[in-house]
């Protein structure tokens, strides 16, 4: 079991007062696989994300993350920054949250905070410019440079992140999350607002992250072409519960899924059907 799935969500519930946003949700995300979490607006996808990444404390259920070495961490017991630091789960946000006043390079350097903090001897070694710190900093810049060239932003490394075009900001946010060297990357609607060409580039980027770096990916997505193209496994949610699960093809033809999309949003239902043909 531990070899198969990296994340296993079991009976997850999240209530806000009387509102049940997520009700008894269970699913597994495969190791070195891309798992997509889809569903109509308001289905509770982002709430699941916030529970996994520690922004919400779930009302019930368990979220277990199993690392490559077999160590299992219960994510619902950790909070905010520890999830990223100890469990190595990184995330992006639905509405991009870069550091707009810092350069693209600086954004990627901030992401390596914990590594650099250790290398700088909690600042003291760094303050006196110790050689060990200097080499660690050089390595961090090198990693940032690698990611900048991977997302095609090397030319704009020294531009403020807030000045980059929307699509570039999306990619930079993914690169920033990847600079924390995560085991699981959670992407909240990475293709939102991208044009067809940018979406294709994004799919390529995500596939390369999975195959070359072996990072598992969990993503929420509305853009069905992206979901169908790259996902290994799809989980469909509606009204806080799982209504279907399986390969992209199986989910696409599931009448319950089509009904959920038709009932919620006609456009999205059409998108689902069209992407199948």
């Amino acid at each position: 079991m531990s070899g198969e799935s990296i994340l296993s969500v079991d009976g997850l519930s999240m209530r806000f007062g009387g509102i049940v946003a997520v009700n008894d949700l269970s699913f597994d995300a495969g190791r070195r696989k891309i798992t997509a979490l889809i569903g109509p607006n308001g289905a509770g996808k982002t709430t699941v994300f916030n529970c996994i990444t520690g922004f919400y404390r779930p009302s019930g259920g368990s979220i277990a993350l199993t690392h490559d070495d077999g160590k299992t961490i219960q994510l619902e017991r950790l909070n905010d920054f520890r999830i990223s630091k100890q469990a190595r789960v990184a995330r992006t946000f639905q509405n991009i949250r870069l550091f707009p006043g810092m350069t693209a390079l600086e954004n990627l350097m901030v992401a390596q905070h914990n590594v650099l903090m250790r290398a700088s001897g909690l600042t003291f070694l760094g303050l006196i410019g110790a050689p060990s710190w200097r080499s660690a900093e050089a390595r961090a810049i090198e990693l940032a440079r690698t990611w900048l060239s991977r997302i095609g932003l090397l030319e704009r490394a020294d531009d403020a992140a807030g000045n980059l075009p929307y699509g570039d900001q999306r990619r930079l946010e993914i690169a920033r999350a990847m600079c924390t060297e995560p085991a699981l990357l959670c992407l909240d609607e990475p293709a939102a607002g991208l044009n067809a060409r940018e979406s294709a580039a994004l799919s390529e980027l995500l596939l390369s992250i999975r195959s070359e770096l072996g990072t598992s990916i969990l993503l929420i997505e509305h853009d069905m072409s992206v979901v169908m193209e790259i996902s290994d496994h799809v989980v469909v949610m509606d009204y806080g519960v799982k209504i279907a699960e399986g390969t992209p093809e199986a989910v696409r033809d599931d009448p319950k899924v089509i009904a959920a999309y038709l009932g919620a949003d006609e456009e999205e239902a059409i998108a689902v059907m069209e992407s199948g043909t």
């Binding site: 990444t53 520690g54 922004f55 905010d80 920054f81 520890r82 999830i83 990223s84 630091k85 990184a90 995330r91 946000f93 949250r97 870069l98 550091f99 707009p100 006043g101 810092m102 350069t103 390079l105 600086e106 350097m109 901030v110 992401a111 390596q112 905070h113 914990n114 650099l116 903090m117 700088s120 600042t123 760094g126 303050l127 810049i141 440079r145 090397l154 490394a157 020294d158 531009d159 403020a160 807030g162 000045n163 920033r176 999350a177 924390t180």
Partner: protein, 441 residues
């Protein structure tokens, strides 16, 4: 965006003239109502105690006419200048020239500062003023870590200044410790108070944080006033030892520095020594801050100012990051406080009122949050300018307030609003202030 500005450009002249006239008329009417009683009618107590009054319609008419004319002039100026929030494109040549002079300002200012005691050796007033300015530069740089870099609005910075000053004063007068031993102790104690303040306020943001820090500043002052047995209460602490040059006192006695060097003693020696002392301390503050900005902790401060949620998602412990910002800023404040105590030789709670916090915060905001050079320039302008307007008596505050309002309209993000990146691959280009966040607590 461009299309809409193009459409708007050929606005009909007649309507704009009518608009100006309408606006001027309304302003004149408001002025008429306001000033009709304030200027139009003059009242005074008569010889028998009765009220006598007379009218001054001529003056009133002049004022209203001035408002009418002034309103037209301002409106014309505004139309000529364009909307205030419009982003103006500065030609690259001008930008280049500006950045060139900008790069020259700091070294020039530094060299000039080093030469101040040489140039103004005979002018005690200027030397004292220079020491005062440097003290505020140091305080500004210290607060800049908290407000400018970490984006935490601290209205009680004077508390750390007070902790530093009283630490030195009490340690020196009670235990006879020398300035050089007390200086780090004062910094450490102030940093400790910074952490102590930090803990309860970590969850607060923005306005709430500002109010709690304000209260903390007042609490420290009230404790100092009321803890008579330790601090001497409102009487303060007097007889604080003067600093020595690593053990050699700057006094006229046999073992004084002047006697040892075989030169004639002059009280100016001590002033010059104090000047270089605070200059060295301020430069150390600056150096440490510049270094810290390039270390992960400094980048985390700035990232915290930009987006706290994203910081948490990247595994940054926002609690300790905020605490280190508070502690670092407080430590510099403590150093400055110790210097203040040794310079004055006497301290009392009156020196640590809210006004000091407000002044230091004004220096940071005016200078451009996060900019070291901007803070130094702002301290010079604020403290120096305050002295410059001394001749204006009670209008000093008015003139000063007006100047600040104008400056904030002209440069809403401070004298130096842009941010320079801490690391770069190819080009070290400044980041426009429009993109840099101010932080929200």
């Amino acid at each position: 965006m461009t299309a809409s500005t193009l459409e708007k450009k050929p606005a009909p002249r007649a309507s704009s003239a009518a608009f100006i006239l309408k606006k001027a008329t309304i302003s004149a009417l408001v002025a008429l109502v306001l000033f009709s009683l304030m200027i139009g009618v003059r009242t005074e107590a008569g010889p028998q105690g009765g009220l006598i009054y007379w009218t001054r319609f001529g003056d009133l008419a002049a004022i209203v006419a001035a408002v009418f004319g002034g309103s037209i002039v301002i409106e014309l100026l505004r139309q000529w200048w364009g909307p205030a929030d419009k982003v103006r494109v500065v030609p690259p040549a001008v930008q280049h020239a500006l950045s060139f002079t900008g790069r020259l300002i700091a070294p020039t200012l530094l060299i000039f500062t080093f030469l101040v005691p040489v140039i103004f050796y005979d002018q005690r007033y200027i030397l004292d003023l220079a020491i005062l300015v440097l003290t505020y530069v140091m305080l500004g740089w210290g607060l800049n870590v908290v407000v400018g870099l970490a984006g935490l609005l601290d209205l009680g910075y004077v508390a750390f200044y007070a902790v530093g000053a009283y630490s030195y004063a009490l340690l020196a007068t009670n235990f006879g410790l020398s300035f050089w031993v007390c200086l780090p102790l004062a910094g450490i104690l102030a940093a400790f108070w910074g952490v102590l303040l930090g803990f309860p306020v970590l969850r607060l943001r923005g306005d709430y944080l500002a109010i709690v820090t304000l209260a903390f500043g007042e609490i420290i002052r009230l404790v100092i006033i009321n803890w008579q047995s330790l601090t001497g209460g409102p009487n303060g602490v007097s007889g604080i030892p003067r600093p020595t040059l690593f053990g050699i006192p700057l006094s006229p006695g046999e073992d004084g520095l002047a006697a040892r060097l075989g030169i004639e003693f002059s009280p100016t020696h001590r002033i010059v020594f104090l000047f270089y002392l605070i200059l060295a301390m301020a430069l150390l503050t600056n150096w440490v801050t510049i270094r810290l900005r390039r270390l992960p902790i400094g980048r985390a401060w700035e990232a915290l100012r930009e987006d706290e949620v994203a910081c948490r998602a990247l595994g940054i412990n926002t609690t300790t990051t905020k605490l280190t910002a508070f502690a670092t800023g407080a430590m510099f404040g403590g150093f400055a406080g110790a210097f203040f105590a040794t310079r004055q030789g006497f301290i009392s709670p009156e020196s640590f009122t809210f006004q000091e916090s407000a002044l230091v915060l004004a220096i940071v905001v005016l200078g451009g949050m996060g900019s070291q050079l901007g803070v130094a320039l702002a301290a010079l302008a604020m403290i120096g300018g305050f002295e410059l307007f001394r001749g204006l008596d009670q209008y000093r505050m008015l003139v000063f307030g007006m100047a600040m309002v104008l400056l904030m309209i002209w440069r809403p993000r401070g004298l130096i609003g842009h941010r320079s990146p801490t690391v770069y691959l190819e080009r070290n280009q400044a980041i426009s202030s429009d993109l840099v966040k101010e932080g929200h607590g």
